[in-house]
Amino acid sequence: MHLAYPAVLSALLFCTGLYGVLARRNAILVLMSVELMLNAVNLNLVAFDVWLSRAAEETLHSGQALTLFTIAIAAAEIGIGLAIVLAVHRNRGTADIDRLRDTAEGHGPDGTDNDTAATGTAAEKAEATA
């Protein structure tokens, strides 16, 4: 098999995930797009590992080992990420990342909302200490 096939598929999948990360508004959809990008990297790792294990007599199988590590880290990432998204949804009532502008510079279009956002942060801190 030509190495170009998995490499091109991996590049296209990565860019699909990139579009999802940039264009999606729901935080869980952003996490799904991150999973797509990680899977594109995994496909690249496996393809190059299979190529190098024959072409260069490479016996470490570092690509497959790294793929397993990436899968495990992705599982940990999705668990922590969903816990964070759930915590944000519990505190703010939304998982919409366009509306989480507490650390944004300057006044956004919702500048009138800054007071409630600040008190929301205070409420979150009180919740964290309670």
Binding site: M1, H2, L3, A4, Y5, P6, A7, L9, A11, L12, L13, C15, T16, L18, Y19, G20, L22, A23, R24, R25, L29, L31, M32, S33, E35, L36, N39, N42, L43, V46, D49, V50, W51, R54, A55, H61, Q64, F69, I71, A72, A74, A76, G79, I80, A83, V85, L86, A87, H89, R90, R92, G93, A95, D98, T119, G120, A123, A126, E127, A130
Partner: protein, 242 residues
């Protein structure tokens, strides 16, 4: 192009001499299967990032991840393929569906699934896709993966390499998974205690905001009614207890 590829193969040294007769215009059966499954995978991935129904996005993600597992099988990486099916299709997608359910995602079509900068995102994605595909094709159009012989990723081979050369990262990874597990429990443990304390403000945070300075100080003291020292310094005391 096939002639140039052949010349390039023949001059590339002993590593790729097996590819001397292969061109893109005469694909093998494995390549055709890879191409078809790859088209399905890419289509499912595009639908995942473009559909406006959130649950459908998660289900299309299942198709994309399953297609990638088939690609791993075609690359003779069997162990990775089944790990992919077990962890991604089995666990990660279920977690995502739980997350969608717990954040009360709308079942039907949600018009605000895409943010306002989708055209900028499309520009960036298309530009990076063009650049990556150009570079990758230019670099690896003459490289041939030899799939004959014993599988490069069978369970025996992967297990041997993993437990001979990668034992220390493997154990470190188990520690990382434990830390992630504990972190996820700590982050989501307040989900169990919060509705018991103040369930109604969860649905409407703006109504929670004006009463923030009074409510969180009062309600924990009401909950810890048997042994409060004073209502005001209750929160630091509880903090010290934990």
């Amino acid at each position: 192009m096939t002639l140039a590829a052949t010349v390039r193969h023949l001059s590339a040294g002993p590593a790729t001499t097996a590819a001397g007769t292969h061109g893109f215009l005469s694909p093998t059966g494995v390549e055709i299967a890879f191409l078809l499954v790859g088209l399905v995978t890419l289509g499912a991935a595009v639908l995942t990032v473009t559909t406006r129904q959130l649950v459908h996005a998660a289900l299309w993600l299942v198709v994309a991840l399953g297609g990638l597992a088939v690609e791993y099988l075609l690359l003779t990486a069997e162990f990775i393929a089944w790990v992919q099916v077990l962890i991604y299709v089995g666990a990660v997608v279920v977690l995502i569906l739980f997350g969608l359910m717990l954040t009360r995602a709308p079942i039907g079509r949600s018009p605000d699934a895409d943010s306002g900068n989708r055209w900028a995102a499309l520009t960036v994605a298309v530009a990076s896709a063009a650049a990556l595909v150009w570079v990758v094709v230019d670099a690896f159009r003459a490289t041939w993966i030899d799939l004959d012989g014993p599988a490069a990723g069978s369970t025996a081979v992967t297990g041997a390499s993993l437990f001979q050369h990668w034992v220390l990262p493997f154990e470190a990874l188990s520690v990382l998974l434990l830390a992630a597990l504990v972190g996820a429990i700590v982050l989501s443990r307040k989900a169990g205690s919060r509705p018991a304390r103040d369930a109604p403000p969860t649905n409407a945070p703006p109504t929670n905001a004006p009463s923030t300075d009074a409510a969180p100080a009062r309600q924990p003291s009401a909950r810890n009614a048997p042994a409060p020292n004073a209502p005001a310094p209750d929160a630091p005391g509880k903090d010290g207890d934990r």
